[in-house]
């Protein structure tokens, strides 16, 4: 952990705080109103707003999780140096790819 990674962790955490609450509110709303998949997709398909909001969420989550796992791996395994960075970037890019794919699935018309 160094100052750059620390700053990214704090910044992504700050951005995630309201996004996580919003995400929970969305889930609560959807389940509370018993929305079907068709109902949900009817609202998200072609929506720039949903696309941007959840893409941002995916971006900060990918960065935060990758850095967090890097710290845990560094403290619990002998992995060090550039191999640690490779692991971090692999996790980050994988989460980003999976997440954006999911956003695309519900947002693209």
């Amino acid at each position: 952990m160094n100052v750059r990674l620390y700053l990214v962790q704090r910044a992504t955490a700050a951005i995630m705080a309201p996004l996580v609450l919003a995400h929970l509110a969305v889930i609560y709303y959807a389940t509370g109103h018993s929305l079907s998949a068709a109902d949900i997709l009817g609202r998200t398909r072609g929506s720039m707003a949903w696309g941007l909001a959840y893409s941002l969420f995916v971006l900060v989550v990918s960065a935060h999780a990758a850095i967090g796992v890097r710290v845990v791996v560094a403290e619990w395994t002998p992995l060090r140096g550039s191999r640690l960075d490779v692991l971090m970037w692999t996790i980050g890019i994988a989460l980003l790819a999976l997440g954006l794919r999911a956003v695309a699935a519900v947002v693209l018309p």
Binding site: M1, N2, V3, R4, L5, Y6, L7, R10, V71, A74, E75, W76, R80
Partner: protein
């Protein structure tokens, strides 16, 4: 028939073992008294460190029943459990022999953290006037009483998990110098504590605060370093 306690002392290096001794129980006995009794009356081959024996030098720091303490300031009555005490060298440092650990890494990290005063004036200049109530001096004073005993380093989980981590004592000292207006080494010092293994590795567990025999709080100092380095980085000064 005087009462005795069962004392387990670490013998050997890392691959050593605990050896049991029966030590007479005395009033107001300290753990250092116990170790000294063993070395003088039972086993002269026992190796251990102490100097002042009055709680001001930090040399006698050892692991007592799993916790790092100054043995001269630990009453046996406070730590004995079922008539037993277990004493070993400080954790997180290589063992030289028995109860003596190698403090090299501890002091090397002190240097690496730039916990060294860098003068900004010569003796020809007038003495710097520093108000003892100034915010910076108060921050430095709160952390300045460290005598480098190594107890916080031995107590720290992050030191245990990350051999690269500078540790609470080195970072605490760096913080006192960051707040010393006479010092001129801050750009190098902030870079040193902002690097991998620096202040940002601290998880704020506060084991250092819990065990510091001088009641210091290195976690607070490290939090200060986190703030200073992050701001310096944002401003482009790092």
């Amino acid at each position: 028939m005087e009462s005795t306690i069962d004392v387990s002392l670490w013998r050997g290096k890392e691959d050593g073992h605990y050896q049991n001794y029966k030590v007479p129980l005395r009033t107001s006995q300290t753990v250092l008294d116990v170790v000294t009794w063993v070395q003088r009356n039972s086993d002269p081959t026992l190796s251990y460190r102490f100097t002042c024996r009055v709680g001001m030098c930090g040399s006698c720091a050892m692991t007592v029943n799993g916790r790092p303490r100054w043995t001269c300031r630990t009453h046996v009555s406070k730590v004995v459990v079922d008539g037993r005490v277990q004493i070993g060298p400080l954790a997180n440092l290589p063992v030289i022999k028995d109860l003596a650990c190698n403090m090299d890494a501890f002091f090397k990290k002190w240097q690496r953290a730039k916990g060294v005063f860098a003068p900004s004036k010569s003796k020809a200049d007038p003495i710097e006037k520093i108000a003892p109530t100034s915010a910076q001096r108060c921050a430095a004073d709160a952390a300045i009483e460290c005598i480098n005993c190594g107890v916080c380093y031995a107590a720290c989980d992050t030191v245990r998990w990350d051999e690269n981590y500078l540790g609470p004592a080195a970072l605490n000292r760096a913080w006192t110098l960051v707040n010393d207006v006479r010092d001129s080494g801050n750009s190098g010092r902030l870079a040193a504590v902002a690097a991998e293994g620096g202040c940002h590795a601290c998880h704020s567990h506060e084991s250092c605060r819990q065990y510091c025999p001088n009641a210091l709080n290195p976690t607070t100092s490290i939090a200060g370093l986190k703030r200073k380095t992050t701001l310096a980085y944002i401003r482009g000064d790092l």
